[in-house]
Amino acid sequence: MLKHLFYSLLITFLLLAIAEFIRPGFATNFLNINWLFLALIVSGILALTKSKKNNKLKV
């Protein structure tokens, strides 16, 4: 589940970054991208630790 959340947030972040690059203010005028970035990092770390745990259990 965390993996899918991480992927979806990553897609959102990249999409908004491209939109922001093409048209400055497109996202940052209405949204604090820092919170999105924080959620992305947290979900990434959690997804990574969970997948490591799963790998250990399999071994």
Binding site: H4, S8, I11, A27, F30
Partner: protein
């Protein structure tokens, strides 16, 4: 096939992107200023040294104070609703920047205590108010058709052009002294023609203000000098400002209005300016300009015509209306009302003003600005709070600022039209 609920996560980018698209193209954008918080689309009230903010309100200690809005798209109209209390000043205004340098603002009055305390007769029509000492006019239209004399009338954020038929007399006017950078001329003619002899680049803007009344702006850059300007009308006035180049001989110019301001930026321009009244008893005064960049202001008790003698040039003078000679006078507009204006000889004030709504000493007023043609550098729209002639201390407490921006509705057809015309004009 079993649906995996985990795939719902992939709707997050679609929903966020869709919501942002809607926000960016929506024809109406509503914003609320949040005190003591950083908002990406709205800047703080600045300079911060002039404002003290808590979580519910902001108190202005010194003016002017401004804030910017980052515009996601082009809008035509801005409605700014201000809720405030404890106004210590007579006049409270909000303005929107009119040019790229954000030095010129179009102001709308939120409160004018001087007008509110008037015991004069008052006529209100479509946001315009005519205050008259004696009940001479029955409507504002009657006032515009048969206007009173320049000397006894003031205008406040309202345009009115007193016009008479004899102004169409044939002839020409020549400005044969050098003027730097730009000049704003107003002339009364059925077909104004202008011949300009200038050094440097410039453009001419001809704007029809009223029937046969034209405003001609000659806009140059820092190096432009207009050496000679010829206009096919006897009735020519120069508005607001004259930036003289170096003069060969003393130049006389005639001022209508009660305020005169002058400034010198180069040492050659340090000189003595002589001001002489034309009506009896003749009064003469001198302004000795001996400091650079220092504004010298003279406020006169009346609005009669005065002769200003400039000896050396390289000087900037400011006033309401200037004339080339005292023979062909006409008043294309009235002098502007200031908070400290002497009203003893004034009988009429035409103002654009709506009294604020009041509830338990808290007042609310809405300023509506036309922002369609306003340049917005870096896509930022600047608003400025002005409290003229205020002293420092708590001048006003602002409880809320609500902004509503209204633009054209998004249409794919218009986008294609725009692309089509861009391609055509490029080729």
């Amino acid at each position: 096939m079993k649906f995996k609920f985990l795939y719902l996560f992939y709707f997050i980018p679609i929903i966020i992107f869709g919501w942002l698209c809607y926000k960016n193209i929506s024809s109406v954008l509503e914003l609320e200023y949040k005190f003591n918080k950083n908002q990406p689309i709205l800047s703080q009230l600045v300079p911060v040294s002039r404002v003290s903010e808590n979580k519910d309100s902001a108190t202005i200690n010194s003016e002017p104070v401004y804030f910017d809005i980052k515009l996601p798209r082009k809008y035509d109209k801005a409605e700014v609703e201000i809720n405030y209390q404890n106004l210590a000043n007579d006049i409270f205004e909000i303005g929107v920047a009119q040019d790229e340098t954000r030095k010129s603002f179009n102001f709308i009055t939120l409160e004018n205590k001087i007008f509110d305390n008037f015991s004069w007769e008052k006529i209100e029509e479509n946001g315009l108010v005519l205050y008259q000492r004696k009940n001479r006019y029955k409507s504002i239209n009657e006032f515009l058709i048969n206007p009173p004399a320049f000397e006894e009338t003031l205008a406040y954020h309202a345009e009115a052009s007193p016009i008479k038929a004899e102004f169409l007399a044939k002839g020409k006017s020549i400005i044969d002294f050098p003027i730097k950078n730009f000049i704003k001329i107003i002339t009364y003619s059925d077909n104004p023609e202008i011949i300009v002899d200038a050094v440097g680049e410039y453009k001419v803007n001809k704007i029809l203000i009223n029937k046969n009344l034209f405003k001609i702006e000659l806009v140059g850059d820092e190096s432009t000098i207009f050496n000679r300007i010829e206009i096919n009308s006897l009735y020519v006035a120069i508005l607001d400002k004259i930036n003289f180049g170096k003069l060969q001989k003393t130049q006389d110019i005639y001022l209508a209005g009660s305020r005169f301001l002058t400034k010198v930026e180069k040492s050659y321009g340090l000189q003595e300016i002589i001001i002489k009244g034309l009506t009896r008893p003749v009064k003469e005064s001198k302004i000795n300009i001996n400091e650079l960049f220092m504004p010298y202001t003279q406020v006169f008790a009346n609005r009669d015509i005065k002769k200003i003698s400039v000896s050396k040039g390289d000087i900037e003078i400011e006033g309401s209306i200037f004339f080339l000679n005292s023979k062909y006078l006409f008043y294309p507009r009235y002098e502007v009302f200031y908070g400290d204006a002497d009203l003893s000889e004034v009988n009429y004030i035409l103002a654009r003003y709506v009294t604020p709504k009041e509830e338990y000493e808290v007042k609310t007023n809405t300023a509506v600005f036309d922002i369609k043609e306003i340049p917005t550098p870096y896509r930022k729209l600047r608003f400025l709070f002005s409290l003229p002639d205020s002293t420092s201390g708590d001048i006003v407490q602002i409880n809320s600022i609500n902004i509503r921006l209204i633009g054209e509705k998004f249409s794919i057809k218009k986008i294609f039209e725009k692309i089509y015309y861009t391609l055509i004009t490029n080729h």
